[in-house]
Symmetry: C2
Subunit: 145 residues, 2 copies
Amino acid sequence: MESELIQALVQIVSFFNRTDRDQAFIKNAGVDLEATSFQLFVTIGRMQPSNVSDLANILGKSHSSTSRQIDKLEKKGLVITKNDETDARIRSIRLSESGEKLKQVLDATRIDNINNALSDWSTKDKKSLLSNLNHLADTLSKLDN
Amino acid sequence: MESELIQALVQIVSFFNRTDRDQAFIKNAGVDLEATSFQLFVTIGRMQPSNVSDLANILGKSHSSTSRQIDKLEKKGLVITKNDETDARIRSIRLSESGEKLKQVLDATRIDNINNALSDWSTKDKKSLLSNLNHLADTLSKLDN
DNA sequence: ATATATTAGGTGTGTTTTGCACGTAATCAA
DNA sequence: TTGATTACGTGCAAAACACACCTAATATAT
């Protein structure tokens, strides 16, 4: 059974992993973000407040590359960085106001898409899906680190 | 409700998307593959037989970059490419025998991991999850362009 | 409390990867 | 058949990258 679970999961993850739609949308929104910057932006939005090392690890890049990519997002006004209050070595990173706005637009688009995708699902099926996904997400979050 | 669905989905997708986990994964399997090559390898394994353009689109890269990355995998003996039989323009790409072996190792590791993660789930809950994930995967696959 | 070790991350530099522009061959469409 | 489109390889300049090294801040040990 686990192998079937994996199969379904891989399919679902791969589907949502295709950022081409998001990227096309971003261009429409008039924001100029390349693939690398976009991925970093999304990750910051999800993990904020974060720091250089954590982001580097998550994205599988060196801290130097990641630091310079963050510089670029900061110059574009999408993220804000400051020294952490309790540890001055740490560059604390979060979305700026305009970054949050862009994130909201992306989230709204995602919700639109899922709404559309599940349009012929019954409410019961959706509730069942939500319950199971929450259970899984909860279990996975406890595995972290 | 859809926004809660999105939230859970994003969390799950992000979990499986973390490059650092992939890397630990790769090391366990004893293979020397960088993040980019690994992602391409997995995608080829999932989509085979595929071609340069499709892979480029899925991964959000240019066809030229993708073509050169495929060269590298081919030189490592993990994939085989040949001209498509019905359209000689197309470079048809699939895993080699040793690529398939590696894929099996990776799949086995993944199953181990999920087994471990869900160790304290009841059989009933697992079945429910599988059923819901299959339903979702099926729905999403019908959206593919 | 002071000395030592570790951690976070910025910077210079050489290497690798990338996208773009362009070219060629194959296929499609008129 | 002829012009358009598609698939993809290649030269090249720009971007991204990892590495080595550095400083400053924090943690640990004595």
